[in-house]
């Protein structure tokens, strides 16, 4: 089937990767009786351009190349990587990873078959053909738009980042997947001054696209978001402290799902029995209005994947259906443990780490409440508009997310602007208390990055307006 090993081997062939090298490496990887082995080749080129004080005067580039060899025996993992793609180096790494098993020798695959993948990030202008000169005017335009939007703006910084990644995943069953993974991102950070008061804020946009991502509509939206959010802060104060109802705006409040429930439903934690959602499959864990999806198929989304980092096709996985916990997010190890099909959630930061069950685009489907009605239902509480970050303790289920901007709700109306307030709650409790779900679903196109075990992967979020009946608002009481 050599003819069909097309793109993947053609791409990595320039670094010396051949079918013969693959066979030799798999023979070593399987030499101690492993159940399964995998080679993950990666080549990734990133560029970053920066504007500060009016000039695009800094550029950063990186080239990353290597292969990770993973050998599995039961739930056990042997892992080694090399940054040198010679036959000797790859075979040595395979032999190192193989120490996890210690039985009679097995054999590698006799042939390889390339898998056809879907196309979730069709690119019109691939990054390798886009030079610095084409990118620079976009940074300058953002700078001009920001200053033009308000005389209070005194400092502007712009970041423009792109990546072109290639991965080739080959396993001991002979499956082979090759994927090109683009990423585009821009960030605008502003400082404004009014008298002696200063405020700063930033906004960003990201997607798996080529240069065409940077449309003028997006550029204008980013400038508007960053400047408006910065100016908003002048009149805002920290929220009050204590437990109260919180209404989350549609869009980036999907961070609530990511932290409150997403991580706890990654199957590795459940396989180990250390998640607060362990033993909850098939049980009601939320209001029937709540349906939560983790989805790798959203075209062009930062969290989209054609294939995960162990060769399983990216797919749409319903985690919670009308309040009932349907499935965890699986990689191959956990899927085998639970006797189910992997869900395409096996992701990794790079060839330097083994994959783990990870989220892609995580969102809640729209519900039946008018967003205005949700706000009106609250006597005294907080309305959260934009967010910066969140975190969770998987076992205890306690999680936080940080509100950058929002409002106080008094007698059903948005009143005083608020800022810089953390929210802390417990995942299962928060899901039970999520009692109104809006009709106004919004997918967020921010540059979200999720961290787990020291590995970062790009993700996306989405959410309709929702009400959490009670949660702790980490503000300050005057």
């Amino acid at each position: 089937m050599t003819d069909h090993l097309t793109d993947g081997l053609a791409y990595f062939g320039r670094f010396g990767v051949t079918e013969e090298l693959l066979r030799a490496a798999f023979d070593r990887a399987m030499s101690t009786g492993a159940d399964w082995a995998e080679l993950f080749f990666q080549h990734r080129i990133t560029h970053h351009l920066g504007l500060e004080d009016g000039a695009v005067n800094r550029a950063y580039g990186s080239v990353t190349l290597g292969v990770g060899v993973r050998v599995i025996k039961g739930d056990q993992t042997g892992y080694a990587y090399t940054e040198e793609l010679t036959r000797q180096a790859v075979c040595d790494a395979a032999a190192t990873a193989a120490v996890i098993a210690n039985e009679a020798a097995g054999r590698g695959p006799s042939s390889f078959e390339i898998k056809r993948l879907p196309e979730r990030y069709p690119v019109q202008r691939p990054w390798p053909g886009v030079g610095v000169a084409e990118k620079m005017p976009i940074l300058s335009r953002l700078n001009e738009l920001a200053f033009a939007r308000s005389p209070d703006i005194v400092k502007v910084r712009v970041g423009f980042a792109d990546a072109d990644g290639a991965v080739l995943v080959v396993d001991s069953d002979g499956r082979m997947s090759f994927d090109r993974q683009p990423m585009a991102q821009m960030t605008l950070s502003c400082t404004a001054e009014r008298g002696s008061q200063r405020e700063s804020c930033s906004a960003n946009l990201a997607g798996r696209e080529g240069f065409e991502f940077f449309t003028d509509t997006r550029v204008q939206k980013l400038a508007g978001d960053a400047v408006d959010r910065t100016l908003f802060l002048f009149d805002a104060t920290v929220a009050p402290a204590g437990a109260m109802p919180v209404v989350l705006a549609a869009g980036s409040s999907g961070i609530l799902l990511h932290e409150a429930i997403g991580h706890g439903m990654e199957a590795d934690f459940n396989r180990k029995g250390i998640s607060v959602y362990s033993d909850k499959l098939g049980q009601p864990i939320a209001n029937p209005d709540v349906t939560i999806v983790d989805d790798g198929t959203e075209v062009g989304a930062r969290g989209a994947i054609n294939v995960d980092d162990e060769g399983v096709e990216g797919q749409r996985t319903v985690l919670v259906e009308q309040g009932v916990l349907r499935t965890y997010m699986h990689d191959r190890i956990s899927a085998k443990h639970y006797g189910v099909e992997p869900t395409g959630n096996g992701r990794r930061e790079s060839f330097r780490s083994p994959p783990l069950p990870r989220m892609r685009s995580t969102y809640m489907l729209p519900g039946r409440h008018d967003p205005a009605e949700i706000i009106q239902s609250v006597k005294r509480g907080v309305y959260a508009s934009s967010f910066t970050n969140g975190q969770v303790m998987i076992g205890a289920g306690d999680f936080t997310f940080y509100i950058k901007t929002g409002y106080l709700i008094e007698d059903g109306k948005l009143t005083r602007p608020i800022k810089d307030t953390n929210i802390i709650g417990n995942g299962p409790e928060c899901l039970r208390k999520t009692d109104m779900v809006g009709t106004d679903f919004e997918f967020d196109d921010g540059g979200w990055t999720c961290g787990k075990d020291g590995q970062s992967v790009p993700v996306s979020l989405g959410m309709p307006t929702v009400r959490v009946a009670e949660i702790t608002v980490g503000g300050v009481n005057q």
Binding site: H47, A59, Y60, S62, V63, E83, M136, V276, S278, G474
Partner: protein, 444 residues
């Protein structure tokens, strides 16, 4: 110290010459490599064995008054040719920046002549059988530490790393460094009556393997921390005196010191702008940067500009003594650089241990861990999730979770009323436990 870094220095010089050959006026090069092994053990079996071997070349290029920085780990000769050619070509297209240049070579002088002792000569002697033995034994120690603990899972790990790097600037700077580090850790997840599964953990990290805390101590601490979380409730919202445990202090201190850096000041995103020489903390706070600590986790003889590092005060009796300004932002701001990085911190310690601080506080809350949150370095607001124990009658009482600590960076450290005598040996920041007189905690 061993002379093995010579090979890397040669590679760095060669790379600097190559950058110039491709048209760079000046260049800064760092070549590095590292090796490491991680073993994770869980519930009676090896969970994961991982070997890491890394290498990389990074270069900052100055050409025609323009600047870029690039890195690669594809070190094949033909790949490097393309790498330098692309990097120089990319730089030429940028707008010029009059403040990008190498420091005057005179500024490289004064490097301290100290042996930081960052390398454990026995690094290579550890066998995989020994590592396996350690993680297996550690699990047993955790289970023995508290036989009545409702354990769901115990996982233990060992990790060791050796790394080496060489830095060369085309105007005369060169330096090579080498270091090792060793980690031993344990995590124990327990099942609470309400179904929650809190985790207690402990770890120890050192430059030399023989300096690590004993496995028995790591096991005992992890088990104690797990037990201490059982039955956690919520705290009534209010203002409380708090004891902040040493390992949690860097979160609040880091938010406080963060806005002292050059980029934040130059971009008008620092609440400390113009505050040098002012009292921004309690007179009890005195903190030095101590880059030459022997076997220190953050020790270094030079910084990223090639400047020799020195012991220097950051906060002295509450007064702000320095900003963190590197060569580039110094030129941009028209001030002398002060060094853009901190290394190890050294607090002026008090004379009470943690139990003593708790006893002195009498009634309050002990905070021993943070969870998420953020801070606004421009206007000073911060809000962090946290958890810990209620302090009643000078003793630790019931655990509390889902707590949040909020306030303003400008003022929070003026609440400091006592400093402990227990600097955390597992962190370069070496923070002691501290007492803050009255802070806003949110709960139910």
């Amino acid at each position: 110290m061993s002379t093995a870094p010579d090979e890397l220095l040669k590679a760095a010089h060669a790379a600097a010459a190559q950058a110039k050959a491709h048209g760079a006026d000046e260049a800064k090069v760092v070549v590095s490599r590292s090796r490491g092994v991680d073993l994770e053990w869980r519930d009676g079996r090896l969970e994961r064995v991982q070997e890491r071997t890394r290498r990389s070349l990074s270069v900052e290029i100055f050409v025609d008054g323009r600047y870029s920085a690039s890195s690669t780990n594809d070190l094949r000769p033909e790949a490097l040719e393309a790498f330098f050619a692309d990097a120089v070509a990319m730089t030429r297209l940028l707008e010029p920046d009059p403040h990008r240049c190498l420091p005057d070579p005179a500024a490289y002088a004064g490097r301290a002549d100290v042996d930081l002792d960052l390398v454990d000569a026995g690094y290579g002697d550890v066998t995989s059988a020994e590592r396996r033995q350690v993680v297996e034994a550690l699990e047993a120690l955790v289970r023995e530490a508290d036989a009545a603990l409702p354990i769901v899972s115990v996982s233990t790990e060992v990790s060791d790393t050796w790394s080496q790097s060489a830095r060369v600037h085309t105007n005369g700077f060169e330096g090579a460094r080498e270091g090792t580090s060793f980690v031993l850790g344990a995590m124990v997840t327990v099942k609470d009556a309400d179904g929650r599964r809190p985790m207690g953990w402990d770890y120890t990290v050192r430059r030399h393997r023989g300096d690590l805390d004993t496995p028995a101590r790591v096991a005992k601490t992890a088990a104690e921390r797990a037990r201490a979380q059982l039955g956690a409730g919520k705290l009534p919202t209010g203002r409380y005196p708090i004891v902040l445990v040493n390992r949690a202090v860097p979160r609040l201190l880091g938010a406080f010191l963060g806005p002292l850096n050059g980029p934040a000041l130059q971009q008008k995103q620092s609440l400390w702008d113009g505050r040098l020489g002012e009292a921004i903390a309690s007179p009890l706070m005195t903190i030095y940067d101590e880059p030459h600590r022997v076997r220190g986790l953050g020790s270094a003889l030079w910084d990223g500009d090639g400047f020799a590092t020195h012991r220097r005060p950051l906060i002295e009796a509450g007064v702000l003594k320095t900003f963190f300004i590197d060569h580039y932002y110094g030129l941009k701001m028209g001030v002398a650089p002060t060094g853009g990085d901190t290394h190890n911190l050294a607090w002026t310690l008090g004379n009470r241990d943690l139990d003593g601080l708790v006893a002195d506080v009498g009634e309050g809350v002990l905070i021993d861990r943070f969870l998420g949150g953020n801070s606004n370095g421009t206007s000073g607001e911060f809000s962090f999730g946290c958890a810990g124990r209620v302090i009643r009658g000078g003793q630790l009482a019931e655990p509390v979770a889902e707590v949040n600590l909020a306030g303003n960076l400008d003022g929070i450290w003026k609440q400091l009323v006592a400093v402990g005598n227990d600097p955390d040996p597992n962190s370069g920041a070496a923070c002691p436990s501290v007492v803050l007189a009255g802070v806003q905690l949110s709960g139910q």
